[in-house]
Symmetry: C2
Subunit: 206 residues, 2 copies
């Protein structure tokens, strides 16, 4: 062993960052957020997904603990009082919330966590954890979003009109997000999401 070899330690310069990334996926209703989220989870299986809590009734086809964790109002309010949510909201007399503990635990172990929440919730989380990565999913155009909402045929025109008005406001807050992905074509939009998360894993943590 010469003097050159002994004068430098073999410690790696760069090891994967200890703390995981929090990735917030958001966007207006009807934009195809759930489809993209599921596509992304297939591409990056080690991504932790945070399931929201809600007091609204379980709908046919929904799976407890996968789509939502369905809880009573009492359970929800107790968790609220214990500061157990990263963000929560009351919509049409029902609660929706993002539980804090599992997210912080996963991030602490260096695991990346994915949130699928609405624009209001996304803003709240970003305010609380500014280092989180906010992604807004956008429709290719207003026309296209309208078409998608009409084709769903789950709501009357009056409700669709409200949803479109909301979408317009929500998209107006694009500047609060770090990334914008246009859902023109599912596969290409999932590619974009995968790219963002892979890049996040290369970021230097401050």
């Amino acid at each position: 062993m010469n003097s050159l070899e002994t004068s430098f330690r073999t410690k790696p310069y760069f090891r994967s960052n200890k703390r995981g990334n929090l990735i917030i996926l958001s966007g207006p209703s009807g934009v195809g957020k759930t489809t993209l989220r599921e596509g992304l989870q297939k591409r990056i299986p080690d991504l932790r997904f945070s399931v929201s809590w809600t007091t609204r009734p379980q709908r046919p086809g929904e799976i407890m603990g996968q789509d939502y964790r369905f809880v009573s109002k009492k359970q929800f309010e107790e968790k609220m009082k214990a500061d157990g949510f990263l963000e929560w909201a009351r919509v049409h007399n029902e609660y929706y919330g993002t539980p804090k503990a599992p997210i912080l635990r996963w991030m602490g172990k260096g695991e990346d966590v994915l949130l699928d929440i609405d624009i209001q919730g996304a803003k709240q989380v970003k305010k609380q954890l500014p280092e989180s990565i906010g992604i807004i999913i956008l429709p290719p155009s207003k026309k296209e979003l309208q078409k998608r909402l009409i084709h769903r045929q789950t709501e009357p025109p009056s409700k669709i009109r409200i949803r479109l008005k909301n979408a317009e406001t929500e998209i107006g807050s694009k500047g609060r997000f770090d990334y914008a992905v246009t859902n023109q074509e599912i596969r290409s939009a999932v590619d974009d999401l995968e790219t963002i998360i892979k890049a996040a894993r290369l970021r230097v943590k401050k």
Copy 2:
């Protein structure tokens, strides 16, 4: 055409950002920066590459306007006085500088620009244009960097020792960069660089 269709314009929500990204590729001597940069340019051919100016003599094999723009001291100093450099430095009595005009022109046209500069220059550019994307290339380990510098056989051990000391200091400024890419294997490091630039193209400009 019904009332729903007329009430929304067809303007796209999101068009590609007008202003291009400035990507700063940096890293210690011997880390393989040039090889990675060339690999990246093949992957993303529309990436503009900013050629540095220098007053040092052209070496055999170097191409004017590709490796460097070789200029006289007078030419360099005139450009300096005209505030024509984004950053410049004097090393061993020779000048090196990054010309400002082409970079700002390309960015203004929405084109992404790649800089391949040393750590000191990278810090200066980042200070002037904080929205630029700083990437530091790291060796897998200090041991490995040492091996690479010795295998080059272009310099005596005493010089290698200085280079390694400098590398250690330079790597210590990792926190000034946005991304860190470890050059363990060329192909995978180029993948990482490609990912960072593709993600940058999805960023919401503030």
